[in-house]
Symmetry: C2
Subunit: 341 residues, 2 copies
């Protein structure tokens, strides 16, 4: 039994004295103790060494006491396991030297035995659970198939992922083949993570908002729905589609336990578009953590009042930025803990 089950209660839609809080990318570069580890070990060594990954996972909890931990990992471990080389270049981000551009490239992508291939992830989960000692739940995550395709075809980050979209719109059957392979792999991966001990999972559809509503259905949502169908009876699932306000209605009927929203969607719009009954998670603009601690506390209070304390998980609208002052993070977390309805 977890000592603090606020997060799981919110996912079940149960009433709470105050909403739970965590931050996307809370185990990351804004923390000096993370930067110490980053100096010594490269990105994939940190991901692949259970002692390091679990240490990084609990660093923010020790400092700020969030209501949930999120496993330190990366969405691109999936393409890696599927036979696609992924590098993480300093000051550049992900780089895939052989991006998918042809049908032959798609054929070469394998659906791996994800249980053996990503064993280091499950070990990191077990190590994190031990360190958390039943205090708070642990979240595991995966990228959406569409978001993974974006990186696999573009070969790197992008404002528009125009090469990924060109691939989908000129070779839709190849794109769907790749998306199905990604979906099949992700389902097994998330089930294995749940078996290893995560208490909930989140799908990051970071680039879903680059698609029109019609194309979103075709190239992103129908694969996410497959994942929800396969996983929802094993653990609660949160879907975060950045820029996907237009899909909140359909998402709310999907079997997901909660929906993430970004800061462009007001609480009122998010509740309206999602039908008013599903748990929502978000949505302070990560850049707003540059405001003063007192302004941050004020904004968090308004945000909770706007979303309502129930069926709500306080978070940012995307990952925390690297150069946010620690006092500002503390103000964000503390404001939630001090919240009085």
């Amino acid at each position: 039994m977890l000592k603090n089950d606020l997060f799981l209660r919110a996912l079940k839609g149960q009433n709470v004295a105050r909403p739970p809080v965590w931050m996307m990318r809370q185990a990351g570069r804004y923390l000096p103790e993370f930067m110490e580890i980053k100096k010594k070990y490269d990105f994939f060594t940190r991901c692949r060494t259970p002692e390091l990954a679990s240490e990084i996972t609990i660093q923010p909890i020790r400092r700020f006491g969030m209501d949930a931990a999120v496993l330190f990992s990366d969405i691109l471990v999936i393409p890696q396991a599927m036979n696609v080389e992924v590098q993480m270049k300093p000051d550049f981000g992900p780089y895939l030297p052989k991006p998918i551009r042809t049908q032959r490239d798609v054929d070469n992508v394998i659906v791996p035995d994800i249980h053996s291939e990503l064993n280091y992830v499950y070990q990191a989960i077990q190590a994190s659970k031990e360190k958390l000692d039943n205090e708070i739940p642990l979240i595991g995550f995966a990228g959406s198939p569409w978001t993974l395709l974006c990186y696999m075809v573009q070969g790197q980050g992008s404002k528009t992922f125009d090469k990924a979209k060109e691939f989908c719109f000129t070779n839709p059957s190849g794109a769907h083949e790749l998306l199905q392979k990604l979906t099949d792999t992700t389902i097994e991966y998330l089930k294995a993570k749940i078996n290893a001990g995560v208490d909930a999972v989140q799908i990051f559809d970071s680039w879903g908002g680059l698609l029109s509503p019609t194309d979103y259905q075709e190239f992103s949502w129908k694969y996410i729905q497959q994942i929800i169908d396969a996983v929802k009876n094993h653990a609660p699932i949160i879907v975060f589609g950045k820029g996907c306000w237009f899909a909140l209605g359909e998402m709310s009927k999907s079997g997901a336990s909660a929906l993430g929203v970004d800061w462009t969607c007001s609480a009122r719009n998010a509740r309206y578009l999602s039908g008013g009954n599903i748990t929502l998670q978000g949505n302070l603009d990560p850049s707003r953590l540059f405001s003063s601690p007192s302004d941050i506390k004020k904004m968090v209070n308004e945000m909770i009042n706007d979303f309502g304390k129930d069926k709500y998980i306080v978070n940012l609208g995307h990952g925390i930025l690297p150069n946010i002052p620690l006092d500002n993070v503390k103000a964000f977390i503390d404001a939630v803990k001090e919240y009085k309805s």
Copy 2:
């Protein structure tokens, strides 16, 4: 009198046999005749030489016969005129070597005599009008103050414009001072363009969608509203806020003649959010021009049916991409001309 006034009729909300069509960035890199000029002259030479700018402006009209021309220029001529150095680096985009980061930087930004400073723009307008010979209207444009601030503070393009937002959220008074200078300059600039002969103007708020609805009001919309108030009696004004679906309601009451929408906002959502009465412009995903010509024609027909033929201007949801095949552009334009309701 213009021989083809479909575009102006749509801006007035008058009934038309078919909607008008143009494309953002229609004078650009997808055209071989543009690339010929690009080989010989650098970016700002093209902008600053009226003969070149007017030639580029009418190139797409000669080839495809759109219902409006848009002056070849750049939103960053405004910061340049305001004493901020702007370079256009090949394969990189805009680069501002001395970005605005301090109050002193803001103080150094001048509100120029835009009539003498950007004389080359007005000459390019006159030359374009002569070449167009009253066939179709000419559109002039400006960036929104917020979008210009993004580049001036960030110093280059960005996915998140995090430095621009950090500046606004840590030094809001400096940000507002800069935004007001930009607004004052832009108002005089657009009036001068209208005096020189453009038939309508468009405000590009390319990065408005990076802000929360509350921050959008504070850092972007209130300045756009000032511009509309000052310009609307001189010429019709179109506001295009990329990602600004959440502001369409307020925008519809602003005095603008039309609102641009991007492809993430369906026709139905756009009509609903904008109150159903204002002319809308958009919104095919520019990447969708990678589809086959027959698919493009089908999508254009559906789009016109969804928006309705009246109070509607067919366009893309953002600028055309450089590597779109000419036959696909032709299919897009022809589909509108062949439209039968």
